[in-house]
């Protein structure tokens, strides 16, 4: 349930409005405008930072905001506001909040909302709406945003009176963060913001009779799962985002320590189990390491923890882990048997489920199985770009590796979508949860820079690195200006290959190298940084990587490094969409890709 909320802190500059009660006693309620109530509730919910952009239908809220202790980050595009709130939430585990005006402001949030929805990120989006008497009249800047976002929010609300604002917002926060978290949108008409009503200071409990976020795995199923685990000779744990979200990292480690079972991670599960642990296999799926996918295909038991058997993870379902029994520990019952038919479903919070399993599984080793997987790695090592003869050229893998080494694996890395995202996942070893933020489910280009700014503001002591492609960077590069205005320190590694690389790679493999609309010309990113009063560095050779990374770390303010990497390198291995998981396209042995006749960028 909700935690008790703090009462008004007199030091905070809340508007001093007369209440009806006598002056000594704490007033139970005070008169407030709807706009003020928004901020009252946000404060009550512990919100100190929000991301937004003003406009006609949110002006009452913006006006009231000045009297409340809130850090408002003025974004350059509302999509950025949503991603910042998202990054804020993913980095901290708190609920992110963004604010936009009606119509175009609200629709600009849509990509960010869908991104948060698919990755189950707790987020509140507040939008202004035209006055209630104009609803449905196609008034200026009217968009039916609750209609638009219905399938991409966990829940949403249209609020037309001041009285409804407090209960609705409180409910919205509760829904957003409980159960399987997700974005919740609250659309508030302008007249509701302007009207005044009693604001009850002590929030009543949220009453949602049909909403049951707390589910627990059944004892019988837990017993069956434990029996399967004890009996398995070739088990693999599949660790997903749920491990990070439910903070089950410690329990997962204990499970592994007791059972000797190796762990493969989904993209969003990276960091949920320490990558440098000997039993950490790495990432599974389309760009998972070959030994990981092979281990899954040969396993006799898969223990899926807080993951949802996404098609990027399973490949062809018909031949997915054909010999394995499957245990699925998952909070959301609608995920059970959705993609993969499982033998035991443990519906409930993964952390709770693990707490019931860990003390009851047999302590044993799986040495032959682990040795078998270990042997599979050798084949991959010879194909690794890192072990190939160095000829001075710069590959993205070099950048990731050096960055990992220099930051000692401790940076909070926010990646965008494309080849660089996969290389980061392969080469930057995350040992801790919430240190890799990426758009997994929706694969939203343009996510990284704004999400990183949100993450940095949530966690001001983290060293934040953005890893972004030349394409994705240009989608939301306007937020550099926000970084400058907020005087935020983040480091941006642009993996500049002159292509929409991931699409180019598909064209190379599956479309006869017909590079349709993938070569991309970019501005001078160093000058772009400088135009914002920020620092820009260019790196063209491997030898310069370490120096540039060090310089970026030492330089105050946001730094952009333009890494001019190999243009036509590809991410290996690759399981083609819909192919069997073990059917991987591998990097040719000892053949470094031909130096492409690189056009001047």
């Amino acid at each position: 349930m909700r935690t008790a909320t703090a009462t008004t802190d007199s030091a905070n500059a809340a508007p001093v409005l007369k209440s009806d009660g006598d002056s000594d006693a704490e007033p139970e309620s005070v008169m407030r405008t709807g706009a003020q109530i928004v901020w009252e509730v946000l404060r009550e919910e512990g919100v100190d930072t929000i991301f937004g952009y003003p406009g006609g239908c949110v002006m009452p809220m913006y006006d009231a905001m000045l009297d409340y202790p809130i850090r408002h980050v003025l974004v350059r595009h509302e999509q950025g506001a949503a991603h910042m709130a998202d990054g804020f939430a993913r980095a901290s585990g708190r609920t992110g909040v963004c604010l936009a005006t009606s119509g175009p402001g609200a629709t600009n949030l849509v990509t960010g909302i869908a991104t948060a929805m698919l990755d189950s990120v707790p987020m509140i989006c507040i939008t202004g709406q035209v006055p209630s008497h104009l609803l449905g009249s196609d008034a200026f800047q009217e968009t039916d945003i609750t209609g638009v976002t219905l399938p991409i929010t966990k829940h949403n609300y249209l609020v037309t009176t001041a009285e409804e604002i407090a209960p609705t917002l409180r409910e919205a926060f509760y829904v957003a963060r409980s159960g399987r978290p997700g974005p919740v949108l609250v659309d508030i008409t302008k007249d509701a913001q302007q009207a005044s009503c009693e604001f009850v200071l002590e929030p009543p409990p949220v009453r949602l009779p049909g909403y049951r976020p707390e589910l627990k795995a059944r004892a019988l199923d837990l017993e069956r799962a434990i029996a399967l685990i004890d009996a398995a000779e070739r088990p693999v744990i599949l660790a997903g985002h749920g491990i990070v979200k439910s903070e089950a990292t410690e329990l997962l480690r204990e499970l592994v320590a007791r059972t000797g079972i190796p762990v493969a991670c989904t993209l969003l599960g990276l960091g949920g189990f320490p990558a440098t642990d000997p039993l950490a296999l790495g990432m599974m799926g389309m760009h998972g390491e070959a030994w990981v996918n092979k281990a899954i295909q040969e396993a006799d038991l898969l223990i899926a923890l807080g993951m949802r058997f996404d098609d990027r993870v399973t490949g062809n379902l018909k031949n997915y882990a054909p010999r394995a029994k499957k245990i699925h520990a998952e909070l959301d019952p609608s995920e059970i048997n959705k993609n993969v038919k499982v033998d035991v479903a443990l519906v409930g919070d993964v952390k709770q489920t693990l707490a019931s399993i860990v003390p009851n599984v047999a302590t044993r080793k799986r040495a032959p199985w682990v040795a078998h997987i270990e042997a599979l790695k050798g084949d991959t090592a010879v194909r690794d770009i890192q072990t190939m003869p160095h000829d001075g050229r710069l590959f993205a893998a070099h950048v990731m590796h050096d960055l990992w080494r220099i930051t000692e694996g401790n940076a909070l890395v926010v990646t965008d979508v494309g080849q660089h995202q996969m290389w980061e996942a392969q080469y930057y070893k995350h040992d801790h949860p919430r240190k890799l933020i990426t758009s997994g489910g929706l694969g939203t280009m343009g996510f990284a820079l704004p999400a990183a700014l949100g993450a940095r503001l949530a966690m001001p002591n983290e060293e934040v690195w953005v890893i972004v492609g030349d394409g994705g960077f240009q989608m939301t590069a306007c937020e550099l200006s926000t970084c400058a205005q907020e005087e935020a320190k983040i480091n941006i590694a642009v993996i500049n290959n002159g292509y929409l690389g991931m699409v180019r790679q598909w064209q190379e493999f599956f479309y006869d190298k017909r590079y349709s609309a993938t070569p991309m010309k970019s501005p001078d990113f160093v000058k772009l940084a400088e135009a914002h009063g920020l620092t820009g560095i260019r790196v063209t050779r491997r030898e310069e990587v370490a120096e540039a990374v060090k310089r970026a770390r030492e330089t105050p303010g946001t730094v952009v490094i333009d890494f001019r990497v190999e243009a036509e390198d590809s991410v290996y291995p690759m399981v083609a969409a819909g192919a069997d998981l073990h059917d991987m396209i591998r990097r040719p042995v000892a053949v470094v890709p031909e130096k492409a006749a690189k056009e001047t960028l």
């Binding site: 399938p151 249209l158 009453r207 049909g210 019952p333």
Partner: protein
């Protein structure tokens, strides 16, 4: 593996704006094909009841139920294939018959316990309540008489005995007027 069959679900939902939209949007998005959907009030204030008929196998039915529960305003879902259920559908059928064939049509209606509720010189309207099968049976025998129009309400369902009432979770609002204040 179970095969796809027509299944009937009962869903209690909070009577709030947009709830029907949420439910239908869910079906559209997840690719479920709705055979029929009815909504109406219940004995409880603030609670509406939906009867949904659709094609689904066992797994799809479980996921559908789970997906419905993910909608914050859905209170309680029952897959009627798990219990004894009474299912009824109502149809109005306008048959193009004049005086000559009227008696014969009325006789057929008797067999199906259908009622003739309106008679005009060139047509009559038949009302029938029953299971989908029974209604289709009547439609089949009326077809030779020229069916001009037909409308069906879609199925409504109720579990037999008080089994279902006992199953409802305690969070379910009580049938008193107190709930109106909440």
């Amino acid at each position: 593996m179970s095969t796809s069959t027509l299944r009937t679900f009962i869903a209690y939902v909070e009577d709030r704006p947009g709830v029907l939209n949420r439910v239908t949007s869910l079906f559209r998005r997840r690719g479920y094909n709705i055979e029929s959907l009815t909504v109406g009030r219940t004995e409880r204030e603030g609670v509406s009841r939906m009867t949904l008929v659709m094609e689904a196998d066992d797994d799809a039915a479980l996921r559908l139920e789970a997906n419905l529960y993910k909608l914050v305003n859905v209170l309680w879902v029952e897959d009627t294939s798990r219990a004894q259920t009474v299912i009824r559908d109502l149809a109005l059928i306008k048959v193009g018959v004049g005086a000559a064939d009227r008696a014969q049509v009325m006789q057929l209606c008797d067999v199906f316990r259908a009622r003739v509720i309106d008679v005009a010189p060139e047509a009559l309207i038949v009302e029938i309540t029953g299971t989908g099968d029974k209604i289709e049976g009547l439609v089949d025998v009326l077809r030779p008489f020229k069916i001009l129009e037909m409308v069906r309400t879609g199925a409504v369902a109720m579990l037999r005995s008080s089994e279902e009432l006992a199953l409802r979770p305690s969070v379910f609002p009580k049938p008193t007027s107190e709930t109106a204040a909440a």
